[in-house]
Symmetry: C3
Subunit: 172 residues, 3 copies
C-alpha cells in the first residue's frame, strides 16, 4: 500500500498517529544526540546504506548538489565524526535544535518507509554567552523500519542560512 501526500489529508486513524509518533521519537533522539555532544551515537540512527546531505536551499534541485556535507553509508558518518573529534579547532559552542511541524508526506507500507518534512532552527551559544539563530532550514527525510527500530535511510538538511562558519562541519 502506498499513500501520497494528498491521500494523507483526511481523517487520521490511530495507526496514522502511531506512525507519526514513531518518526517523532526518532527525531527527538536525533536532536538529543547532537545537542548533548554524544556524536558517536549519531551514525547509529541511520541505516548501513544511508545517505546524509547538508545542502543550501538554492542547490536542492541540482543533480550535483555540492552540499557542505555528503555522506554515503554509516561508516562514512563515523569517519566524519572521528575527523571532527580530532580536528576540532573551532570556537567552543553549544547547539540547540528546535524542530517543528513534522509532516508525513508519503508512506510506503510495503517497503516500510515513511517520508517526512520538518522545519528546524538551530540556536548557537558561543563562549561569549550570547545565543543567536545559527541556521534555519528544512529536513527532508526517509525513515525505514529495521529490526532495531526506525532509522534514517536518507536525511537531507536543506539550509536557508548561507553564512556558514567553520563549525558548520558539525552535522545538523
Amino acid at each position: 500500500m502506498f499513500m501520497d501526500w494528498e491521500s494523507l489529508l483526511g481523517e487520521p486513524t490511530s495507526q496514522d498517529m502511531m506512525r507519526w509518533y514513531q518518526v517523532q521519537r526518532l527525531q527527538e533522539r536525533y536532536v538529543s544526540v547532537l545537542d548533548t555532544g554524544r556524536l558517536e551515537e549519531w551514525p547509529e540512527l541511520f541505516t548501513e546504506d544511508c545517505v546524509y546531505e547538508m545542502v543550501p536551499r538554492e542547490k536542492v534541485d541540482h543533480v550535483l548538489r555540492g552540499g557542505v556535507i555528503r555522506c554515503f553509508g554509516r561508516s562514512m558518518l563515523r569517519d566524519h565524526i572521528a575527523s571532527l573529534r580530532t580536528a576540532r579547532a573551532c570556537e567552543p559552542h553549544t547547539f540547540r535544535h528546535i524542530t517543528s511541524g513534522l509532516e508525513i508526506t508519503q508512506v510506503d507500507a510495503d517497503a516500510d518507509t515513511i517520508d517526512t518534512e520538518s522545519n528546524y532552527v538551530v540556536v548557537q551559544t558561543l563562549a561569549d554567552g550570547e545565543s543567536r539563530v545559527y541556521q534555519a532550514g528544512r529536513y527532508l527525510d526517509r525513515v525505514v523500519r529495521t529490526v532495531d527500530g526506525w532509522r534514517y535511510q536518507r536525511k537531507l538538511a536543506v539550509y536557508d542560512t548561507s553564512r556558514l562558519q567553520i563549525s558548520s562541519v558539525s552535522p545538523i
Copy 2:
C-alpha cells in the same frame, strides 16, 4: 458535551490524544504550506466562512482591532494571496515557522469544534543569508471537523513583535 480548560486538566484519554493529534496535523500542514511557498493551498485549510486576523498583542482585546490583515471568508483569503503574487515587491526571503505548545483550551463535541492556543516564532532569512527572529507571537485558533477533515474556522495570529516590514503582508 462541552469541556473547558479546567475540565481538560485531568488524566488524558486516548480520545484526547487523538483530538490533539488531529489539530497538530492541521497545524503542520499550515506551516508546511506557508514555508514552502505553496500559498495557493493556504485558503484550503480554512472553512468557507472563516475569519483570519493578524493583530498586535496590545490590540487583541479591542473591539476594533485594526490588525495588519483581516479576512472574512475563504474567497478573501484567495484575493489576499492573488494580490501578494502580483504585487510582490519586497526583498526575497524565506520563512520558517516554529510552533510549540499546542494546548487545547476548549472542546465543543456537539459543534465538533476545538479551541487551541500555541506559541510561534518565525525565523526569516533574507538575500544576505542571515537568519533572524522575524516575529514571535501566539495563535488563538478554532478548528472544526468538516467532510474534508479538520479546518480552521477562526485563526488569530497575535504578534509581540511590532517592527513589521513590508513583507509582513504575507500571512503568518
Copy 3:
C-alpha cells in the same frame, strides 16, 4: 518495572505514546502559564515537595550548583512569584517559550515517575518591539502521577546563555 534510556529504543507501543502525550501536555500547560502571565498557576504544576532550579550549563554537574533560582517545595515557588509581582522593576517584556524534542529517558512504573529531557529557546520582545533569542537551554525533568494528574517533581532548566538580565528572575 523500570526502563532506562536504552530499553526505550525499540518499537514503541501505544502505552509509550500515551505516556509521551501526558508529559507533552504538562509541558504545554507549563509554557502557556508562563507566556500568558498566569504566574500564580505556575506552582500548581509542581508537587508539594518539588525542586525547581535554573542553573548555567557549566555548573550542572556541581554539588553546590549556585543557580539563579533554587526552590524547594511549592510554597517557595509561590513566594518567588509573590516577590516578582511586588518588586517587578524591570522593563516590560513578553516571553515565548519554544520547546522541542521531548525525550523520555527513564520510566519507573512502580514510582509512577517519568524522566524527560527537552530543548528550549525563549524569545523575548521588549518595549522597542524587537524580538530576540533571550535564552537557550535544556530541561531535565521528573514528572510524577498524582491524584490531580501529572506534575513536576523536579524541574531543572540548564541554560547555555550566560548573558542574564534582571528579568531573568522570571522562571523559565
